[in-house]
Amino acid sequence: MDANYFGKCKASELRAEIGQARKKGKPNARVKVVLKKIISNIILNKVELASLMNEVVYLLTLDDYEISRLCSHYIVHYAAYNPEDALNALEIYHRFAQDKDPLLRALSVKTVSSVRQKDFFRQGLIITRPLLDDNNPHVRTAAAFAVARLFHENQVKVVDSGLIEGLNDLLYDENKNVVASALAALDSIIQSSPSHSLNVNKEHLLSLIAGIGTTSEWKQVSLLDALMSYVPQSSDDALEMMDAVLPCFLHENTAVVLNSVKLVVYLSNFIASPESNFSGLDKRLGSALVSMLSKPPEIQFLVLRNVILILLGRRYLVDVDVELFFWNLDDPMYIKDTKLEIIYLLADEGNYEIVFRELEEYATDVDVKMARKAIRAFGNLSIKLEAAADRCVALLIDLLAGESPRIAQEAMIVMTNILRKYQNTYDDTLDHFVIHYKTMEDDDAKIALSWILGNYSESITFTSEALKYLCDTYEKESVPVQLAIMTAVVKYYVANPLDAESLVLQVLKYATEESGNPDLRERGLFYWRMITHEYNAEPGPNLQKYTKHVVMERRCQITPDAENIDPANLEELELNIGTLASIYLKSVRVVFRFAKQKSLPKSPALQERRKSMSSPKKSSKETNRKHELMRLDNVRPPLYSAPRSRSTASITADSLADSVERPSESLKNKFVRRASSMMGKKHT
């Protein structure tokens, strides 16, 4: 077993061991043992071993392929720490590059191109060029990747040396494996250079796809990815290509499947109605995606994120059954989260009964955290589907009566959203909600309760008790809750001056005289001046007429917004299906500052983008607002932001909107938070 050789060693010990081995007649076996120890120190990154360079370079000359390989690992790793001694190896590699054993030629070009030293780079340019035309495919493959490595080192010199042309020629190599390697090498060059792009003609690409079955799965991935740079000039071009790619949907390797999905989505930009050209395309795409859900959770997660992306942009291309996205008991949390988002997107008038039955189960899940998420999903669905709202309200009432206070609180929060959407439809059910006022403990829940009390004080039978209860501990509440209660009390006062007078006095007195918080004091003073203004002092039904006008403004409408994502953003993400950016569902540049931007190429066949979801038309102004919401770099305003120039009532409503986040946003915010908190520790 090699395990005995694993561990950090001192350079002096190893030097002695090499010396001893060299005294023997047949040193190779002992040398290999020393080299194994050296490998373990490469793994553990022990820098001190750089001083052994001369000894290791000498070992290269032993005529043994295994030893040469192990030595090469050493040289690649340590040449940077001991560049002068490493130079001695150059001559040997030069000889290897002309050896008649292809394995040595490949080893030479791979090693020399991997060392980041000027002299090695220069040597690399010299030996790589002839090896691109080597008669052995293994050597040509190694040379292809050597070009990519050298390019990373110094773009200008590599371009000048004509290596790129040599690499391009490999695209027409007789051996498919070499072609695929050349594509991968070119891909890395294109990624890091703004001025290079892949240019291959259609016939050649089609011939490559035709033989796709005989290449290895990873070569298929590079090939499919390379096909993304093909620009169809007519719909027929695109159709022909799509037809050739569709069999890949059945492959076992999910990277092959998703890359072919990416290609099909890309090609559908150039076809007026792809689903009518290929009957059952939507079914095939749907089951290609769903069948990947039997893979390990990490892979499932990525697939699910991309299902969201495709549903947002290309609903008409996928036919999937919502039930396939229901939770399995052993799904990890991040899968359950993502599935909830998909369930939300797939729910419609036709299937909401099934979806609701399922969500009801989740809402009573043992895991309170997941139960709360399910309840949020409920609320969002009832905003999306009017038919579902009654059912949702009935369920929320049930949940409130349940034993778990956390769930009751969540139900309260969700209810505020429903009220914003359906205004006065549920006035007579509000008693069922407010009766649980004593169980509200979280800030968000208290804010929700206050908001309901303020806006619907007349429909609720015990507004005064509930508000009194909230005010009893007013001093101890956090500022956002204090603000919400204050607004609620003022609204109540406007509606019912007699009952509320003492409460208003108590709250405003505390806010203006005792509280140290400027926001609270500011708003308290504002209300105070308004209430005591002479225009409002008119007795009778017109008492506080103007206050009423300002405070009791109707709540702002809420619309389902998860389905709106900036089309430009979506277009870019569709070109990046399966990549890291597809997890975050953000513009690539937002996540990765240095990534090359992709956009749809110009072509006479390019079709106008179709609407994905059959959502009702919205005014442009509204849509713009939603785009703001979906923009992920947007930081949510703090709940107790200073009053803005608009009326006070809408401030409360706004902060409510902020407190009621959808599951999708909470997940995304997690990413943003994580990413931004790490920014400080960024490394290059």
């Binding site: 949390m333 399966g578 890291l580």
Partner: protein
């Protein structure tokens, strides 16, 4: 694509590291160790709440677990994340195939015991960070140390021996040429010989079922896999079908076309055009295809629970009926009734089988060594529930069983043909087996 690759043990010690590009620092693994591995232990965060990808600045860490070990790929900028994940899993399978010989997860001693070979493999399977060639035969042809570990066939043993004795360098170059020969299939060596040509085909199905509180079917799904073991000489071409040659209607009726996933040896283009599953099989054991069926099918077992609630007492009656033919027999049928902690059992009665309360697991376990077809057995349990929360009493009921010679989907292998130049006779074995995946009742 991948800039660096690491393998960690659960403590966060490095067992393996390999750099492919110069765009990350040598100590980049420290970030992952601190942010993920160590923080996982510290806060006792449940494993499943952590995302498999962590992005910091432009650097992303993509990780999977194999047993206690972490396999982590580091990538810069926006890379094909699914390919990276798929590659990591393929890597685990490769290591299992070469060093473990079965599907048990990797361990620290396996990695350290073969660290030189693994380091060498990592140097070959990725070229400049792009997955290249993961075929064991290719790897054995470029990595000299590997041929000692894995001897693929009799021929291989021969050539290795010759190489050792004669120091024959050409043995290397001829096998490396083979690895690139496009006319050859990469997953099968030429010149394999067996005295007796045999092919074993196993149809294994897992039934995932969710039943409602009165025993009605809420959801059911079958995950099927067809595994093969080939002991065939030469370069055989196999054709395989669920129904008569050419006519494929049966297949399309039972399963929707695209719910299949095929092993890489299956010619997908041919399947797409002619619906024929044709392939040159790899030697030994492999999974030919897997499929899922979500359409209705008959359930092997039905479970009907009846729950009667009193003030502090709940009685649960379960009726378990087998629906398969009386010729088949299920083995190891075990029904679990998991109850919340604090609930005490009062009495258990069962018409057959052994029923016991296991306080360690908080569950009632009802066991049958054998469960014959077309039979019904009952289990009644009385619980005492302290605190009077009987209304919200929700036991978790799940069933486990193995059913040989039966397949839940009713899918039948109709033909399996082996064509080879030398036209030998092949002995074929077909076996069906159905197992419970998650077979549950939701109350």
């Amino acid at each position: 694509m991948i800039s660096a690759l690491f393998i960690f043990n659960p403590k966060g010690d490095i067992l393996m590291s390999k750099f492919y590009k110069n765009d990350v620092r040598r100590n980049v693994h420290e970030i992952f160790r601190i942010q993920v591995i160590n923080s996982a232990g510290k806060y006792l965060a449940p494993q499943d709440s952590r995302l498999p990808v962590l992005t910091i600045g432009s650097t992303s860490f993509v990780s999977i677990r194999s047993g206690p070990l972490w396999l982590v790929a580091v990538a810069r900028s926006n890379q094909d994340c699914l390919a990276i994940l798929e590659f990591l899993y393929a890597l685990v399978h490769l290591f299992q195939k070469i060093f473990v010989h079965d599907n048990s997860p990797l361990t620290e001693s396996i990695i350290l015991g073969n660290f030189v070979n693994i380091f060498e493999i990592l140097g070959e399977v990725l070229e400049f960070g792009y997955p290249s060639n993961m075929e064991p035969s290719y790897l054995a042809s470029v990595i000299p140390g590997l041929s000692d570990v894995k001897v693929k066939s009799i021929e291989k043993k021969d050539s290795d021996l010759r190489r050792k004795i004669l120091g024959d360098k050409k043995a290397h170059s001829s096998s490396i040429d083979q690895a690139y020969d496009a006319s050859r299939v990469s997953w099968r060596e030429p010149g394999i010989k067996y005295r007796k040509n045999e092919i074993f085909l196993n149809v294994d199905e897992k039934v995932n079922v969710l039943l409602g509180r009165s025993g009605e079917l809420l959801r059911s799904q079958i995950e099927g896999a067809i595994a093969m073991k080939c002991h065939l000489s030469g370069m055989p071409m196999c054709r395989f079908g669920f129904s008569g040659e050419g006519v494929d209607e049966d297949l399309r009726d039972t399963i929707t076309l695209d719910d299949f996933k095929f092993h890489k040896c299956v010619d997908l283009a041919k399947y797409d055009s002619d619906q024929v599953i044709a392939f040159v099989p790899p030697d030994g054991l492999f999974q030919l295809m897997n499929y899922t069926i979500t359409e209705a099918h008959s359930l092997p077992f039905s479970i009907v629970p009846t729950l009667t609630t009193g003030a502090e007492r709940v009685s649960l009656n379960l009726r378990l009926t087998s629906n398969y033919s009386s010729l088949s027999t299920a083995t190891n049928a075990i029904l679990h009734v998991q109850v919340p902690p604090g609930v005490a059992k009062h009495t258990i009665r069962s018409s057959q089988g052994k029923a016991k309360f296991k306080s360690g697991e908080n569950a009632i376990v009802w066991k049958f060594a054998k469960f014959f077809g077309h039979q019904t057995h009952e289990l009644s349990i009385d619980f005492e529930i302290p605190g009077g929360s009987a209304a919200s009493f929700k036991p978790k009921i799940s069933l486990d069983f193995t059913l040989e010679t039966h397949n839940a989907s009713g899918l039948q292998v109709k033909f399996l043909k082996v064509l080879e130049k030398s036209n030998y006779r092949t002995v074929k074995w077909v076996k069906y087996c159905t197992q419970a995946g998650s077979y549950e009742v939701r109350i």
